[in-house]
């Protein structure tokens, strides 16, 4: 099983970088290096989100896989209720 802190850190790191690069690309659409970096991060984030869903719980509706565990969306901790205590930034 992948380490929860490590996985969450990967989700936080890639998501933040994608968020920041999105704003950068909005005003620098011709920067090919930034664009390449964006796509690389996007695939890393996708993998981390899907691994986190498989081993812990889904963070987005798109991450809900087959119905092996029933409807789990509402069971998971709210992010303001200690859901993110494992993140170390």
């Amino acid at each position: 099983m992948a380490d929860k802190t490590q996985l969450l850190n990967e989700i936080y790191d890639t998501s933040f970088a994608i968020n920041d690069l999105t704003l950068y690309l909005d005003t620098h659409p011709d920067d090919t290096q930034a664009l390449a970096e964006f796509h690389q991060l996007k695939s890393r984030r996708k993998t981390a989100l899907s691994t986190f869903e498989q081993e812990y719980y889904p963070l987005t509706i798109d991450c809900l896989s087959d119905n092996k565990n029933g409807w789990t969306w509402g069971d998971t901790p709210a992010p303001w209720k200690g859901g993110m205590t494992n993140v170390e930034l």
């Binding site: 909005d26 963070l59 992010p79 993110m84």
Partner: protein
Amino acid sequence: MWNYEKRLQFPVNIKKKCPKTAQYIISQYGGPDGELSASMRYLSQRYSMPYNDVGGLLTDIGTEELAHLEMICAIVHQLTDNLTVEEAKTAGFDAYYIDHATGIWPQASGGIPFTANEFQSKGDAFADLVEDLAAEQKARATYENILRVIEDEEVRKPIIFLREREVVHFQRFGEAMERVKFRLDSKNYYFFNPEFDKQMMQKQ
């Protein structure tokens, strides 16, 4: 259309209750330079923005501001969770407690409720972008005021993150303004191509 992601943009894990700190921080939810008015400002302005790329930037920053107000609310919630009546009474949180107990409600630190008068959507690209630049600077200054009075590192960390985002947003709005300037009708007065009369579109 939006999709929810069940996490905060930057983690908030505060262990020490402090209703007094909550009373300061809540201003960045519903106060004059708070995240709620920031989000509503950009998400309202984007409809009439004559340039697609700048409208896109308003959407992206307005969306990030939603994640910021969620962080602010998480901070206020964790600072007041399981508050006792005695703590509410002694810590300067009493007036808020009477109206909301420990519910989260958008107001300024001084108790003034959130109002749409805190932001403009002028239907004029330059008027709107100049307001956006000022808004980011005012929010940065508010975060600096907060950081001068708060000592708890668990509160300071997310506030420092939010302050940094104001600096980045200011930079992006500045770049957006340059991109709009470049497309203005040069025969018209510099910076004054009224959006409503479609004069801005002459160079497109």
